[in-house]
Symmetry: D2
Subunit: 255 residues, 4 copies
C-alpha cells in the first residue's frame, strides 16, 4: 500500500493595515493549510496580526512569518539595498514579533516565507539569502523556510542544517529551466480555472508541470501557493482544493 500524495496549500493573509483590508482572509483560511502572515513591515500591524493568528488557529491552519523589507508604501515589492547584518536583524525582529503574537493566541510559529522583493532576491543573492537564513537559524524553535525550488536561500538553508522546502505555482507559467515566466510576458498568468486546477493536481501528484514551451519541468513542491488578493481568488482556491481532493491528494501542512 502506498501513501497518498500529500500537498500543502499556502496563501498570504493578514495584509491589512489600520483601517485597510486586503483579500478575504476568512474564506481563504477555510481552504489553505498554511497561512503566510504579514509581520508589520510590508503590511499588517499588531492588531491585524493578532486577529489573523487567532483566525488561522481556529481553522487549524499552520502559521508562517511572511517577513519582508520595511516598505509599507511599496508593499514590500520594491528591491532594497540593505546591508546583510541589517537585513538579518530586520528578519529577526519580525520573527520575534509574530512568534509572540502566536504565543498570546496559544499557538506557535511554524515556518518562514519571505515576501515579494525579498522572496525574489534571496532566490539569487547569496548575501541577502545568508542574512535571512541566519535569522531563521537563530530562532528558538526550528522553523522551515518556504522558497522557490533550487533557490540560493534553499541551498544555504540546507547547508546550515535547516529544513527548507519548495513551493509551486498552479496559476503561473514556468520556463523550461524551471523559473517563473515574468508577469510582463504574455501567457505568464494562467486565467483558465480548469487549467489551474489541472496543474495543481499535476504538481501534487507527479511533482512536474508543463513549461510554457511544453517541456516537462520538475518542481517537486511540498506546497502550492494560492493567491488571495485577486478577484475570484477565494473561489479559485476552493476549486483547487476540491480538484486535489478528488484526485486523491491529501492536504496537510508541512510545518
Amino acid at each position: 500500500v502506498t501513501d497518498p500524495p500529500t500537498i500543502d496549500l499556502n496563501s498570504d493573509v493578514g495584509e491589512g493595515f489600520g483601517v485597510y483590508r486586503l483579500g478575504d482572509d476568512a474564506r481563504i483560511l477555510k481552504v489553505v493549510t498554511s497561512a503566510n502572515i504579514a509581520c508589520g513591515f510590508h503590511a499588517g500591524d499588531p492588531t491585524v496580526m493578532a486577529r489573523t493568528v487567532e483566525l488561522a488557529a481556529q481553522h487549524g491552519v499552520a502559521i508562517g512569518a511572511h517577513v519582508a523589507y520595511p516598505d509599507l508604501a511599496g508593499f514590500g515589492r520594491r528591491q532594497m539595498e540593505i546591508a546583510p547584518d541589517e537585513l538579518s536583524s530586520i528578519v529577526s525582529y519580525q520573527l520575534g514579533a509574530l512568534d509572540e503574537i502566536c504565543r498570546r493566541a496559544g499557538t506557535r510559529l511554524g515556518y518562514v516565507k519571505p515576501h515579494g522583493a525579498l522572496y525574489n532576491r534571496i532566490a539569487v543573492d547569496p548575501e541577502q539569502a545568508a542574512a535571512v537564513v541566519e535569522a531563521v537559524a537563530v530562532h528558538g524553535s526550528q522553523l522551515t523556510l518556504l522558497t522557490l525550488p533550487d533557490s540560493v536561500a534553499m541551498r544555504l538553508a540546507h547547508a546550515a542544517g535547516l529544513p527548507a522546502l519548495a513551493e509551486g505555482y498552479a496559476d503561473r507559467a514556468y520556463a523550461a529551466d524551471g523559473s517563473l515566466v515574468s508577469r510582463t510576458q504574455p501567457g505568464s498568468v494562467i486565467d483558465d480555472e480548469a487549467a489551474v486546477v489541472e496543474r495543481a493536481v499535476a504538481l501534487a501528484t507527479t511533482g512536474e508541470v508543463r513549461a510554457i514551451d511544453g517541456t516537462p519541468v520538475r518542481v517537486w513542491p511540498r506546497s502550492i501557493c494560492i493567491h488571495g488578493d485577486t478577484p475570484g481568488a477565494a473561489r479559485l482556491s476552493s476549486e483547487i482544493r476540491g480538484g486535489l481532493e478528488r484526485a486523491g491528494v491529501r492536504l496537510r501542512a508541512f510545518a
Copy 2:
C-alpha cells in the same frame, strides 16, 4: 551580619533611529546595571536594537524592553487613545521583537519598563495598565515590570502573580503624596549634582527621600532611573554610581 543595601541603576538606551543618534549609550552602559532598550515604536530600529543589545551584553547589563506607543514623530511622549486589546498586541509585538534580538546575541530579555506617555498612563489608567500586564503575563519567560511606586500597573501585576518593582528618581522632586512634581513646576528638576547624589544614596539606603515641602516620602525603590539624554548625563550617572559605592550600596540588576 546584615546584607548591604542593594540598588539597581536603569537608563534608557538604544533610542537612535536610522542615521539619528541620541544619548551616549557607550558611556551610560558602563555605569548602569539595567538597560531600557527602545523597541522600534517610539525610537530604535532593528539595527540599533541589535547593536545596543550586544553592547549591553558585553557590559553584563540586564536588558529591559522599553515598550511604547507607536509614535516615532512624538517620541512616545504623546498620550494616545488605543483600545486595550490593540495596546496589548502592540506591547506583545515589541516584547517579541526585542526578545528575538536578544536571542541572536546570546542573551535574554529580563524586564519591561514602559516608556513616556504609556509609562505615565498605566500608573493611573486601569484599562491600559491591564493591557500591558496581560502582554507581560503571556510572555514565555517571566519578566519583571518596572514602574512607579503604587502605580495601578504595579497593583495589577501583583494581582496577576507577576513581579513588579518600583523605581525612584534622584533628580526629580517628589510631592508629599509620593508623586513626582510636574516638570512645569519650579524646582521639579534637581540640578545640583551633590544633591542628586545624596538623594540617590538616601533612596538606596533608607528607601525614603524628602518631598519638595520637606515631608519624608517612602519610595522603596529597587532601581533608580538615570537620565541619559540630558547634557552631562554620562558624568552625573558616574557620580551617582560613585556616591552609592562610597556609601556601601551594592549595585546589582534586579532582573
Copy 3:
C-alpha cells in the same frame, strides 16, 4: 422670481495608501460637487492624491484639502496632543502639498475640511482651532473652511475675515442643541434610505432638520456630507442627489 435653493454635496475621497484602496471614488465623484482629498497624513500618498485630483477635475468637482493629524495607523481618528505651532505647520504642509498636486493637474485647491479627530477637536478647542485657521489664512489663495455649524473654528475663521461654511449630515441624528448624537448611542445613524433622502431635502430647502427628540434644529448647511466608505454608500449618494434634484434643489460647489 426667487433663486432655487442651492446645496453642495461633499465626500471624503482619495483615502487609499500604497496598494490599499478605500471607498469607490470613481462612483462618488460622479455624484458629489466637492471632494475632500486626503493629504498623506491619515491616508493618501502622492500617487493616490495625483490620481484623485485628476479624477475630480475631470468630473468638475471642487477640491478640498482633507487635512488630518499625522496618524496613518489610526486613520486620523485618534485625538492627539500637538502644540498649536506644530499643528499649524502640519496643516500648512498638507495644504501646500495638495495645492502643488492640483497645480500639476491644471486645477486648484478651493477649500479645507479637517478630518476625523481634528475635525471634532477644532469644533471645541480654541487653541487647535486657531492653529488650523492660521494655516488657512496664510495660504496664498483664499480657501473656505468647511466645518460643523457654530464650531469654535468657524467663529475664529470669521473673526479672521476668512470664509467658513457649515455642513450638515443627512444620515446622522441631531440632538436638540444641534450637536450630533454620538455614534455610541442608539439611533445615532439613520439607516432608512428614504428618511435620509428626506432629511437631505429638508436641510437643503429649509436649513432645518428634526432632532432625535422631534425638536426642529437649525443647521443652515451650505453643504451636506456624504459618507463614501460604508456599504451601499455610492448608491445612497445617488439617491440623495436624485431626491434633491426632484425637489428643485440646485447642486453647486461652494468653493
Copy 4:
C-alpha cells in the same frame, strides 16, 4: 573693470526629525548663502521645516527644496525603484509642502536640490531625471535645479527651458572625467583643511580643480557644496568662506 568672481555656498540643513537633531544648522546658516532644506521624506518634519525656514530667512540665506525618496529609515541614501509618474508626484508633494512653509515665514522657495540616492540617480537615469524635471517645471514660480555638472537632469532641465546650475565639491576628489571618486576609494575625501580651502578658491576663481591624477578638470560650478554633518563641519565651512573672501570672491546666492 571686471566683475569679481562670484560663488554660492550651499549646505544641507533641517535634517532633524521629531526629537532628533543632525548637524549644527545655526552655525552653518551663518556661513552659507543657500540652504537645502529637507522636506519630510528622508528627514525633516513640518515643525523642523518651519524652524529651519525661519532661521534661513533671518540670515538672508536662499531656500532650496532638498527633495528625496520616501525613506526616513535609510535617510534617502538607498536606491529605490519608483515609477516615473509616482516619483514626479512625490517631488511635487515635497515642493508644495516646503513652498507653503516658506510662505508662512514670509519668504519663498528659490531652488531644488535632490538628495542622496535621488541626486545620484538623476545624474544618469533619464526616466527618473525627467520625472524630477517635470515636477520642477510645473511649479508655480520658476525654480533653479542644482545638480552635478553635465548630469542627465541638467541637460533635460535646459532642454525644458529651466535654469539648472552645477555645483562643485571642495572636499572631494575628482576623476579625470569630472566625476567624483567613489567614497570607497582611498583619497576620495580630502581631509586637509588648507587644501580644501585652496580647492574652493580654485573652483570659484578658475572653475577648475585638479583631478586625483593631476589632470585639470573643468567643473564651472555656480555653487560649492559644504557638508554640515561631519565633525568640524561648521569650522571648516567658516574657513572656506574666509578663504574665498580673502581671494576676492563675492559670495552670493544664485536663486
